[in-house]
């Protein structure tokens, strides 16, 4: 990680500092780094650190990995073999010095919601030897979510939302790929927001919150549908918490935003990149030279250390 940081213009090592972290700088760093992120939650705010970095290991705490947009079944020139790149991503998870407590998959597991695509994704992710918490992407809902729910719906509410706790951090899995309406952004829907209100009602405001979902919870680029119409209602319910980290996929690139106590992080895909917001006529797959593709794909590692005020977040490309 240090090598990568040093080699990269505009990156500052102070991003990896413990307290007094320059969050804006860190976010820039993340935007550049793109791929695998080690999320560490320290004292409530997730921070990312380099996967190759021993940071998380030496600090202890909870580490987990986000993997996203594996798109098994995609076969176009932008990446004819997303199964191979997903396998690479899983290998990079297995190679982490500190094994993650679990993985979160932020959707678009498959490209076409087909059972054989789910089967292949499951087979590949098995290689990480880790529990996986899923939320669906819109590509996993082309069949109305039947195949997704059959595999990952057990114990979830509504269209697949749920929450769980790990080492003092409250994780909330939201589904925002079901309520699509003409000409507008996707939404969580009233039922899910009512559930969320109930879910967090008993929590102390000092509880670190990690929300993960597929489509961004902020208006990244509404013209391309990169936002969630009623995300404001959900975030209002989380306002009283000292540390809220929102992780999502969908846009196949790393972008960050900080709003009060809430940090938003979009993640890389393991399948193919997409253009920066508005940088192309459409958000279609971005074709990059084959030998550069690994620089655009990756995973994210997150570490939380109790008593620290932020989570450490590291986006790790498959290929430096």
């Amino acid at each position: 990680m240090s090598d990568r940081l040093n080699a990269s213009p505009g990156l500052e090592l102070q991003h990896l500092g413990r307290d007094g972290l320059d969050r804006r700088g860190l976010l820039k760093c993340m935007a550049w780094a793109g791929a695998g992120v080690l999320w560490t939650v320290t004292g409530g705010v997730p921070r990312s650190v380099g996967l190759a970095d021993a940071y998380a290991g030496t600090m202890g705490g909870l580490s987990f990995v986000q993997i996203s947009d594996t798109h098994i079944g995609f076969n176009k020139p932008a990446n004819p073999h997303p199964d191979a790149t997903m396998t690479q991503a899983v290998a990079s998870i297995r190679a982490l010095p500190t094994p993650p407590a679990f993985l979160i998959h932020t959707g678009d597991i498959t490209h076409l919601s087909k059972p054989e695509q789910y089967d292949m994704a499951a087979e590949i992710i098995k290689g990480a030897n880790s529990e996986v918490h899923y939320v669906p992407g819109e590509h996993d809902w082309l069949d109305g979510g039947d195949a997704f729910k059959a595999r990952h719906g057990a114990g979830t509410k509504g269209d697949g939302w749920y929450s769980f706790d790990s080492q003092g951090v409250h994780f909330i899995a939201l589904v925002n790929v079901v309520n699509f309406k003409a000409g507008s952004l996707t939404s969580l829907g009233a039922d899910q927001i009512a559930w969320l209100k109930d879910d967090v009602s008993g929590l102390a405001s000092s509880t670190p919150i990690v929300v993960f979902t597929h489509i961004p919870m902020w208006a990244v680029y509404p013209q391309w549908g990169w936002g969630t119409e009623d995300s404001g209602q959900a975030l209002e319910l989380l306002k009283r918490f000292g540390s809220v980290t929102v992780l999502n996929g969908h846009i196949h690139q790393v972008l960050q935003k900080v709003e009060g106590n809430v940090t938003f992080h979009t993640a890389m895909s393991t399948a193919y990149p997409q253009p920066a917001p508005g940088a192309a006529a459409s958000p279609g797959p971005l074709k990059v030279p084959a030998d550069k593709l690994g620089g655009y794909l990756g995973i994210r590692e997150v570490t939380y250390v109790e008593g620290q005020s932020s989570l450490a977040i590291l986006d790790k490309p498959l290929m430096a």
Binding site: L112, S113, H139, W141, L142, A182, S184, L185, S282, P285
Partner: protein, 133 residues
């Protein structure tokens, strides 16, 4: 084709001239009526039974609004590298494709007049309209 068939029937009329002129007249009128109605039926069917194309290119439906007579089949073709869907926005989802991969087609025959707004559920800012008259 229809006009060729009509002129082809004239020698038949000439052969019939030897018989009762009234019969010939009646026969010719009947024949013309039949041919005429057949031609009309053909013309109606040719239009109403037509297939009209909507292309999905660069995350948009083209044409965005298509006006067709009742009985027309509309066929959508996805020419993008990503998946799209075609889903009517009325309560019952009058038509609803599954995920359309590159070059996949979906078609629907419109038997009832009305205005049908549809979207791609994967990218709901992609909207289109079929007006059936």
């Amino acid at each position: 084709m229809t006009s060729l068939r009509r002129s082809g029937s004239l020698p038949v009329l000439r052969r019939l001239r030897r018989g009762s002129s009234l019969f010939v007249l009646g026969g010719a009128l009947a024949l013309l009526l039949v041919l005429g109605s057949l031609a009309h039926w053909n013309r109606t069917a040719a239009v109403a039974g037509e297939t009209r194309e909507v292309k999905i290119d660069n995350y948009s439906f083209s044409p965005g609004t298509l006006t067709v007579p009742v009985g027309t089949t509309v066929s959508w073709t996805n020419r993008d590298e990503t998946v799209h869907t075609v889903v009517a926005q009325d309560a019952g989802h009058t038509f609803k494709s599954g995920g359309l991969d590159t070059d996949d087609k979906f078609s629907f025959t419109f038997d009832k007049p009305g205005t049908y707004v549809y979207i791609c559920t994967v990218h709901p800012y992609m909207t289109g309209k079929i007006v059936v008259q």
